[in-house]
């Protein structure tokens, strides 16, 4: 005869307290996002509610001078797209190459030295990067392009922005590459693959979803980056895709204008929220595009 025991439910206070705490932590970020979208939307509505402003002007125009009735957002979007494209063009190949080296080629010792150094890049304040672009990179570019390049230019800002997001891309891509099961590498090697064939044709495609996440985050960082472009790429809207010219990005414009004295009801003030909403939209669209690309080419291994 065994001893009797009680199988009824017990209340475990610690368990439910922790659960609520974790739930709150999760909900906090959602609440914040919703609040930001609400505030942006509210102020942007004021802007679009202005009888002077039309969607056609906003999305169709290439002049941005709210004071005299020009609301063409393209004057700012062009610079954001140009600088971000340059940044990704630098950061993606270099970051991927570094990731492949660290994950597939580097000895544990080389990896232990290189990885922390690469991650230091991520710890440099962006204002420092900004002046690095203006005072170091621009003069170098000047010696190549001479008078064709302006003192403030999108190329310098974009290049340095690329350096800034390089560690993000390389570190996230390396995680993705390292997460590919060893059995796949072994399969490749057992077929007589060289290290390069295994890395580029088996491991890399299998890690594409993680690399895509890195790319998306990199794009978001580039599009949202403010300080570098504010310092180095110029202060004044200019509809141009020429990297040698000065042009102001959406973020740079918001930073500059909101730093001045603006009255709360002015069209200049509410226009900033419209720009911010547009920034949101650009990031969203770019994310969707990269997600689609990654989904198209990735190889699922589980």
């Amino acid at each position: 005869m065994s001893q009797s025991f009680d199988l009824k439910k017990k209340t475990r206070i610690g368990e439910s307290a922790i659960q609520s705490l974790l739930f709150l932590a999760g909900i906090l970020s959602i609440v914040t996002t919703v609040a930001i979208v609400y505030e942006l939307g509210k102020e942007a509505m004021l802007f679009f509610g202005n009888p002077d402003v039309t969607f056609a002007k906003f999305f169709g125009g290439t002049q941005w001078q709210p004071g005299i009735g020009n609301y063409g957002i393209w004057a700012l979007v062009s610079a954001t797209l140009t600088t971000s494209a340059i940044a990704i063009f630098i950061a993606l190949p270099l970051g991927l190459a570094a990731a492949v080296y660290l994950s597939e080629y580097a000895s544990p010792k080389a990896r232990g030295i290189l990885k922390p150094i690469l991650e230091i890049l991520a710890g440099i304040p962006t204002v420092v990067y900004g002046y690095f672009a203006l005072l170091f990179v621009t003069p170098i570019l000047k010696s190549f392009f001479g008078d064709h390049i302006q003192v403030y230019n999108m190329l310098s800002a974009g290049l340095v922005m690329g350096i800034m997001i390089l560690p993000l891309i390389s570190s996230m891509s390396e995680d993705a590459l390292s997460a590919v099961p060893r059995s796949l590498r072994e399969a490749a090697y057992a077929m007589g693959a060289t290290k390069l064939e295994s890395s580029l044709q088996v491991v890399l495609p299998a890690a594409l979803s993680g690399i895509g996440a890195a790319l998306i985050l990199g794009i978001s960082r580039a599009v949202g980056e403010t300080m570098i472009v504010a310092v180095a790429s110029g202060a004044g809207p200019n509809f141009s895709f020429n990297p040698l010219e000065a042009a102001e990005t959406m973020t740079g414009h918001i930073a500059r204008i909101s730093g001045g004295d603006l009255s709360y009801n002015s069209i200049d003030y509410t226009s900033l929220f419209a720009i911010a909403l547009m920034l949101f939209l650009v990031t969203l669209v770019l994310n969707l595009i990269s997600q689609w690309i990654v989904g198209r080419f990735r190889e699922r291994y589980e």
Partner: protein, 258 residues
């Protein structure tokens, strides 16, 4: 020393070390051409380590190195001027857990052939390899689907198919059926009998019946008191299972330990 032509590969006093620790010691095996040789023995006796040394897969284990000789057509596979990539093109391998590439069924076979410089008709090669692996009828209508859509047994046969597509001399099999159900296991064993018409097969197995059923020769491995594994008996499979010379082999194959 030349190895005689009836042997596909032979080892002379082959030892495998992890750093200072000797995992496998003094192995002398002559693997006969176009036969199935099984390596059996209790867990941790170094069967897989020995098998993986045959196509230099142990190169990827930090600190692992081999001493002694492993001869294939008179060339020592561990000599300095040997390219392990070339070795693996001649000695293919099928792993314990099916590990197809996350590519289409077709591409799983075509990829290996392509990196090995295959220039012929790829469609033909894919069909022929899948037929040889007894998989063609099951997959011929879905060659472009992911290999991961296949069952475990089918995946393993796909791994065999991609290995024979590069036409190695020897196929190493590391417990190829241990992750499979009995029906799939049987199909792999039947397949091995087909394959030995063209390939020399070296198989590690935990499954004694499998070794008894499927192999021509059996090597029995055991660890010594320094925890180094070694081959204690190597003979016709029939002899190993009916009249083993070593008492430890007898105990093992009759299920008294291990």
């Amino acid at each position: 020393m030349q190895n005689s032509p009836s042997y596909a590969i032979e080892s002379n006093d082959l030892s495998i070390h992890y750093g200072a620790f000797t995992a496998v010691k003094g192995v002398n095996l002559k693997i006969e051409r176009l036969k199935i040789t099984a390596i059996i023995g209790p867990s941790g006796c170094g069967k897989s380590t020995l098998l993986r040394s045959f196509n230099r897969m142990n190169d990827f284990v930090p600190g692992c190195h081999a001493t002694g000789e492993l001869l294939m057509q008179g060339q020592n596979l561990y000599s300095k001027d040997i390219d392990p990539v070339e070795v693996r093109r001649k000695i293919g391998m099928v792993f314990q857990k099916p590990n197809p590439f996350p590519k289409s069924i077709y591409e799983n076979i075509a990829w290996g052939a392509r990196i090995n410089g295959f220039k012929g008709n790829m469609d033909e090669l894919v069909e022929q390899s899948l037929r040889s692996a007894a998989l063609w009828d099951e997959v011929k209508d879905k060659l472009q689907e992911s290999a991961y859509a296949l069952s475990g047994g089918q995946q393993q046969r796909l791994c065999i198919a991609r290995t024979i597509a590069i036409q190695p001399e020897i196929i190493l099999m590391d417990e190829p059926a241990s992750a499979l159900d009995p029906i799939s296991t049987l199909r792999i064993e039947e397949l091995m009998q087909e394959l030995k018409k063209n390939y020399t097969i070296l198989i590690v197995t935990h499954n004694m019946q499998q070794a008894a059923r499927a192999s021509d020769y059996t090597a029995m491995m055991m660890i010594d008191d320094q925890r180094a594994g070694g081959v204690i008996e190597f003979d016709d499979t029939k002899n190993i299972f009916t009249r083993p010379k070593d008492k430890r082999t007898e105990d093992y194959v009759t299920g008294r330990f291990g």
